[in-house]
């Protein structure tokens, strides 16, 4: 009996180091980078059909190189038909993320807030609606109006709010997927 006990113990002793162990010397590079690497506003002048764009880019995701952003130039006294384009350029081919927002429109909402010198010159009305009851704006499409006056410089705040597990409301939710500011000049 004692012998069998010692055999058991010895077995444990030898089995112990032989247990499978993951190898740390071969790290996987299987990291999911922040999906949104660029945000672009595309504005079409309702009269002239001239197109203006302005982008915010952070090619390497959070940290590393700082993001770069264009200044958005707007003419005074115009109406623009606007849309926002979200891309993940860290993968090939580039992934257009607008599709996901359209599919999840009932849990997402964009908020556009003119600030600083343009806060009284720019008005934005979101034109697309979700299928909630009552229906709420989504904000992938919008109408941007500039009043006469200027020239003046300010910021256009863009927030994408995500309502995860809670009802979508007219105010921003507890979690922001996007929160950036584009320097904007009305002239």
């Amino acid at each position: 009996m004692r012998n069998s006990f010692f055999i058991l113990m010895t077995t444990i002793l030898f089995v112990l180091p032989a247990c499978k162990e993951k190898d740390p010397t071969a790290p996987s590079d299987d990291i999911e980078h922040e999906v949104i690497t660029s945000v672009t506003l595309v504005l079409r002048d309702s009269v002239t059909s001239a197109v203006r764009t302005a982008s915010w880019r952070d090619a390497d995701g959070p940290g590393g190189a700082a993001p770069v952003a264009d200044t958005l130039f707007l003419a005074a006294g115009r109406t623009y038909l606007g849309s926002i384009l979200l891309l993940n350029e860290s993968v090939t081919p580039t992934d257009t993320l607008n599709v996901e927002i359209e599919e999840q429109a009932n849990q997402h909402q964009f908020f556009y807030t003119p600030t600083g010198g343009i806060s009284s010159l720019v008005g934005i009305e979101r034109t697309d609606r979700d299928t909630n009851t009552p229906s709420l704006p989504v904000g992938l499409q919008f109408k941007l109006r500039t009043s006469g006056g200027g020239p003046s410089t300010g910021g256009l705040g863009i927030v994408l709010s995500h309502y995860d597990g809670i009802p979508k409301t007219a105010t921003p939710g507890p979690e922001s997927d996007i929160d950036i500011v584009l320097v904007t000049r009305v002239q």
Partner: protein, 774 residues
């Protein structure tokens, strides 16, 4: 509310003084007698209580019992052939456990040592500041986490991440600055994270011991702040079986918990003993006084099996244990950026609420910790007692982030870390050499960490540690001097992907720890312990390599691969008084840590698509911490007992004199305990009220934290307990209420204080019983 507390306390004191008119109760004295070199129980030793003129012989397990002695001072005399006689003066005020070690005549130089690590009175002989949670205390805390079971000890506070994740903080230090010992093997997990609770079932052992202050000589470099040791229960040395069962229920989060163990000394295989132990807990969403805390439920299942072969000169044993838990993380703490965090702080209610549920959704943690140990202990003729412990542990931590990108459910965890550690410890408790006794030891660890989640907060690494130490003790009448020194060497290899290749970085850390302790028993009831030591700690992986947003705290954290070691110099002094009616245990300490690693804000935020995140870098500064902790107990009479304990910690950065961030607020705990007379066949009944007061932390660096420390608070807990008898079977029942007044409060060290109040009132029912106990 304060007047209510005063009224309750007054009422209990009045009841106590009325009850004290009852006849004087007797006190039970139990204990064991063991061989000092082998720790083996001594069968047939005679134990006399001189004053009471009564004596008994120890049984085969070395145990003795005096069921009813008069309270007061007694002289206990222990004799056995071939061993030096021992005389010991004790003061009996409550049931006491006395563990006596006899020294063989041939090697007897210093009489006797009283230890008994799970017993408060045994601490008289320690030069260290130690607090213990004994087996009885553990019964009264069943169903709670390791952190919660330690929270009532002076000098220990909690850092919490919601109601399910609690980590002990010892004198203001926690996480990678504390060593946890489970089954006497160093617990190796991802200790560095404040939201990573210890993967230990506190009910696996016979009690819990907390060493406050550095204990690096015995336990290695990380023990710069202290040690929490789950004191293992020894295997049964006599034939028979024994079992214990604890069941508890908590109303606040509708938590049910069960914990128990069985042990036996097999009849079939003589000399083989075994022990089976397990715990399970399941809880739903907790509730703050004004609202529910969505997704704060948890489930936990732990178990262990020990088997050992016991022989005259020692034992060989093996342990298999698993800890596994799923922890929900409060949904209201789930934010995307700083604006969200500010909005959550300003809001009076969490921004996400849901009806009560047991559902554990994302964000959540899924953790498993497996441990296998093999231990061999034997007396070697002419050398001493040799103890070898081998261990393999695998810590698997998965943290699921609720951060969904456009509603795509992240099926992969954000963190997925597997840490495998092999440890070997060899210790020799050598026979006296001249006037010295002591222990020399060698330990080695090999670790591999594999990171597989969608983010890489810490990289893959392979680490090798080797340590060697010696502790020697010299003692004379009433005076004991202990000195120890340890050498540690750590080789760290980091593996990071670099394009299609692997980049390897090697780092080596080596250093010395040392300590001198003096314990002076200048009176039978008074002792003074002093410990002077120096310890060090290499930087942890997150301090070296983190680079990313810490969700929940909305800060961007950047490590520094060039960080060096922390080096501490510490002094603590503990005064103990154990007399008939009064027990006092007070420690003062000062701890200077040079190169203390902490996060410091940098002026430029990190810009991301989610907004600007305040950015913190790990940096080293010299800090000085000092403080006071202690407890006092006054047995007013045989019925009424009053207790007071408290802790104070101060810490500041030497160069700037700025206070350190996140030090616990001053706190005090006042207990009124009254025994109730036997009635309706109920024995051992009592009522107890506890008032916990925590002061506002007024010392903090300004404009670093998003929200200033919350105001102080006062909580009231009430408890009553009794023993029911059904024939031979004794069932212990306790009913208690935590936070009786449903006080709304936020603790400064609650990491969710930005988002929600701490949990409110909870009614707790606990039932325990045992079988086979004599």
């Amino acid at each position: 509310m304060r007047s209510f507390v005063v009224a309750v306390v007054g009422l209990i004191m009045a009841a106590g003084s009325w009850l004290s008119a009852q006849p004087t109760a007797t006190v039970r004295l139990t204990g064991t007698v063991r061989d000092s070199a082998t720790s083996l129980p001594l069968d047939g030793a005679s134990v006399f209580v001189a004053h009471a003129r009564t004596g008994v012989l120890t049984d085969t397990e070395g145990r003795f019992v005096f069921p009813s002695l008069q309270p007061g001072r007694h002289e206990v005399v222990v004799r056995m052939m071939g061993y030096a006689e021992v005389r010991r003066t004790i003061v009996l005020a409550k049931p006491t456990q006395l563990d006596i070690f006899l020294v063989q005549v041939s090697i007897a130089v210093r009489g006797v040592t009283i230890t008994g690590t799970v017993d408060k009175s045994g601490l008289m002989g320690s030069h260290r500041a130690i607090s213990v949670v004994g087996a009885d205390d553990l019964h009264r805390l069943s169903g709670q986490t390791l952190g919660e079971t330690l929270e009532h000890l002076p000098g220990v506070t909690l850092i919490s991440t919601g109601p399910s994740i609690m980590k002990p903080v010892i004198r203001g230090l926690h996480s990678q600055r504390i060593v946890l010992l489970n089954a006497d093997i160093r617990q190796e997990g991802q200790q560095w994270g404040a939201e990573h609770a210890p993967e230990i079932d506190p009910f696996a052992g016979a009690g819990i011991e907390v060493v406050k202050g550095p204990a690096s000589v015995e336990f290695g470099a990380e023990a710069i702040g202290g040690v929490v040791r789950i004191v293992p229960r020894e295997l049964r040395r006599t034939q028979g079986h024994e079992a214990e069962l604890h069941i508890s229920f908590f109303s606040n989060n509708a938590q049910g918990a069960v914990s128990g163990w069985m042990e036996g000394h097999a009849d079939v295989l003589s000399d083989v003993a075994w022990r089976l132990q397990g715990s399970a807990r399941r809880a739903g969403d907790a509730r703050a006084p004004a609202y529910g805390l969505a997704n704060t439920g948890f489930s936990e299942v732990d178990g262990s099996f020990t088997i050992g072969y016991l022989f005259e000169a020692g034992e060989v044993s093996a342990l298999l244990s698993r800890f596994s838990t799923d922890l929900g993380i409060f949904q209201g703490s789930h934010i995307g950026n700083v604006t969200d965090l500010r909005r959550a702080i300003v809001s009076s209610r969490p921004l996400v609420e849901r009806p009560f549920s047991y559902d554990i959704r994302m964000p959540k943690q899924v953790i498993r910790h497996d441990l296998v140990t093999l231990r061999a202990r034997s007396l070697i003729e002419g050398l001493g007692s040799l103890d070898l412990r081998l261990g393999r542990q695998e810590n698997h931590r998965q943290e699921y982030d609720a951060l969904r990108i456009f509603g795509q459910i992240q099926t992969r965890p954000a963190f997925d870390l597997t840490l495998t550690s092999y440890t070997a410890d060899l210790r020799l408790m050598h026979l006296p050499v001249g006037p010295f006794t002591g222990t020399i030891g060698l330990s080695g660890t090999r670790q591999g960490n594999v990171s597989e989640g969608t983010t890489r907060l810490i990289p893959n690494f392979r680490a090798h540690n080797v340590g060697a130490f010696a502790i020697e003790e010299w003692s004379d009448d009433g005076l004991r001097v202990t000195t120890g020194v340890r050498l540690d060497w750590r080789q760290l290899d980091i593996y990071r992907p670099s394009g299609s290749a692997v980049e390897r970085m090697a780092k080596t850390y080596a250093n010395v720890s040392g300590a001198v302790g003096v314990q002076w028993q200048f009176d039978p009831t008074w002792s003074l312990g002093t410990n002077i030591g120096t310890a060090w700690r290499p930087p942890s992986l997150n301090e070296l390599y983190s680079d990313g947003v810490h969700h929940g705290s909305a800060q961007y954290e950047i490590g520094d691969p060039t960080l060096g070691n922390e080096r501490s110099g510490s002094l603590d002094v503990t005064l103990r008084h154990i007399a008939e009616m009064v027990h006092v245990d007070v420690s003062v300490f000062v701890n200077r840590i040079d190169g203390f690693i902490a996060l410091f804000p940098t002026p430029d935020p990190t810009l991301t698509v989610r907004g600007a995140f305040p950015t913190f870098r790990y940096r080293q500064d010299d800090v000085v911490m000092h403080g006071l902790d202690g407890s006092a107990e006054w047995h007013v009479n045989t019925v009424l007992r009053l207790g007071l304990s408290g802790s104070l910690v101060r810490g500041s950065i030497v160069s700037t004199r700025l206070p350190m961030l996140f030090l616990p607020g001053d706190r005090a705990r006042f207990i009124v305990h009254a025994k109730l007379p036997e009635r309706w066949g109920l024995t051992g009944s009592y009522v107890e009220a506890t008032v916990i007061g925590v002061r506002h932390q007024g010392r903090y660096p300004s404009s670093v934290d998003y929200a200033n420390p919350p105001p102080g608070y006062v909580l009231l807990d009430l408890e009553t307990g009794t023993h029911l008898h059904w024939g031979e079977q004794v069932v212990e029942v306790t009913l208690s209420t935590q936070n009786v007044l449903n006080t709304t409060y936020r603790d400064y060290l609650s990491r969710f204080r930005y988002f929600s109040d701490d949990p409110g009132r909870s009614f707790v029912v606990r039932v325990s019983t045992s079988w086979g106990r004599h």
